[in-house]
């Protein structure tokens, strides 16, 4: 756009002065036209001022509510451009995120937790509908539930997009924004997974600058080692736990096992020989008791009961 060229300060000052002058009833339109015609840089300067004004005007409500939530305008964060290191067959569309501070408020957070044997539906103050899978927990912060923290487990979100509303879902080091969609987020056993069934979301991480854009039919998985994989996922399989199935596509075993632990109520230990394995497939939840044996069968490994009621997946019997 026009503003890249080096217009000197004087021209910009003149453009600002004209912009203010034209707001008056007795504006000197002839003088303004003569000024524009005197030098093409005048037009360029006026364009840039007019565009800036238009952007401010257009977004003032959104910016205002953002400042409301923050209490004070926050301290700056340097902007850098760094690409996420992504594994997997797909490469995400990356956008540069402006250094936007986390939303903080003085309001006391609310905690919602689902029992170990059933899921729990919650409608938040901002109209977002969420469903917590069994033994999952979220913490809702701020006026209008602007920040939702997934403490553990898996939660399905159905959120209508509203550009004037800043809604952030945090899961460990990951931050999900720009939400207008249906998606399921899982934070279990140190692993992270988000699948989008409708719409799109942006995901940022404390560990990298920039954002990953996730569209319907895509999932992003992060292992405990921080390795990220973006892959396609059937939209119908996103949040399939709501229909009694656990579906995985190349998921870290730690995440699968943590899910099973939640549903079965049993502590599950993964043999070190399987730690780096991934799992793809669907398990029927039922009462939770068949999940681990089924997983073991599919993977061709054994389940070993341990002292204290825990179960160990894989490795030799001992």
């Amino acid at each position: 756009m026009t503003a890249q060229s080096n217009l000197d300060e004087r021209v910009i000052d003149e453009a600002l002065a004209w912009q203010a002058a034209l707001e008056r009833d007795d504006a000197d339109w002839d003088g303004y036209m003569a000024w524009l015609e005197a030098d093409p840089r005048h037009r360029e300067a006026f364009d840039s001022i007019a565009l800036t004004t238009a952007m401010v005007e257009e977004h003032k409500d959104a910016v205002g509510s953002l400042f409301d939530v923050q209490g004070v305008a926050a301290s700056p964060r340097p902007q850098r451009r760094m690409r996420w290191a992504l594994g997997g067959g797909l490469v995400a569309a990356l956008v540069l995120a402006a250094g936007l501070p986390l939303l903080r408020t003085g309001q006391a957070p609310s905690v919602y937790a689902a029992d170990t044997d059933k899921s729990r539906a919650v409608t938040l103050a901002n109209g977002a509908n969420i469903l917590l899978s069994p033994a999952s927990r979220i913490v809702v912060h701020g006026k209008d539930a602007a920040r939702i923290e997934l403490a553990s487990g898996e939660v399905y979100f159905a959120v209508r997009h509203d550009p004037s509303r800043m809604l952030t879902v945090e899961a460990g080091p990951y931050r999900i924004t720009d939400i207008g969609t249906r998606f399921s987020v899982n934070l279990s056993g140190g692993s992270f997974r988000i699948g989008v069934s409708e719409g799109a979301v942006s995901i940022a991480s404390d560990k990298a600058d920039g954002q990953v854009r996730l569209q319907a039919g895509q999932q992003l998985t992060g292992g405990a080692d921080g390795h990220l994989t973006l892959a396609p996922v059937a939209a119908s399989e996103v949040g399939s736990w709501r229909e009694g199935r656990l579906s995985y596509s190349d998921a870290p075993l730690a995440l699968v096992v943590a899910d099973i632990s939640r549903y079965s109520g049993k502590r599950v230990i993964v043999d070190p020989s399987l730690e780096t394995r991934h799992f793809s497939g669907t398990l029927v939840i039922g009462d939770g008791s068949r999940l681990l044996p089924d997983l073991a069968t599919v993977m061709g490994v054994a389940v070993h009961p341990q002292a204290g009621g825990a179960l160990r997946l894989g490795g030799a019997d001992r």
Binding site: I12, D13, W29, L36, M55, V91, A216
Partner: protein, 175 residues
């Protein structure tokens, strides 16, 4: 709009058509685009009631100015979309995959969201005085006089702060 009003708009437009063309030419630096916007201005003017004829000229001039800004904004958004697409294109081409969704409205919402973020961050980075004056006036909608009273400074002090803020934001937003 009744027949009288329509006639009034026509008279007004006929009277100022030459000047409006001059303004649009000066504003756009392109006579073809200026002619195009002049047509659009005419179509729009006919659809809206007009104030007293005394203000008619300024009314039409402001309308012309707004049409130019709308066009600039549209061009700016289009460039943002194209930038995003070409980024995606490159990335997906490398992976041999097709981009999944290019829905215009979703894209526009992302762009709007990014603009809001950039704007909030740029305002937060302003020098303290300029930031407070700018926020009260441009974001909260207080008048210059109200901002002056609230900050305990003169009206011209407020104007200077706003000018500093505008210059800074212009640089930050239109890189």
């Amino acid at each position: 709009m009744n027949a009288d009003q329509e006639e009034e708009v026509e008279t007004l437009y006929g009277l100022h058509r030459g000047e409006l063309r001059r303004l649009l030419n000066a504003r756009l630096g392109d006579s073809v685009e200026a002619e195009d916007l002049l047509q659009e201005l005419w179509l729009r003017a006919r659809q809206r009631p007009v104030g007293p004829v005394g203000n008619g000229r300024a009314y039409l001039f402001r309308m012309a100015q707004n049409l130019v800004v709308d066009r600039l904004r549209e061009r700016q958004r289009r460039m943002a979309r194209e930038r995003r697409w070409s980024d995606q294109e490159t990335d997906f081409a490398q992976a041999g995959m097709e981009p999944t969704d290019r829905s215009g409205t979703a894209e526009d919402q992302i762009i709007a969201r990014e603009e809001v973020a950039a704007l909030a961050s740029a305002i937060a980075n302003l020098p303290e005085g300029a930031r407070r004056a700018f926020e009260l006036h441009k974001i909260r909608g207080l008048s210059h006089a109200e901002v002056a009273a609230q900050l305990g400074i003169s009206k011209s002090g407020v104007e200077k702060h706003i000018a500093v803020a505008m210059k800074y934001l212009r640089r930050a937003l239109l890189r």
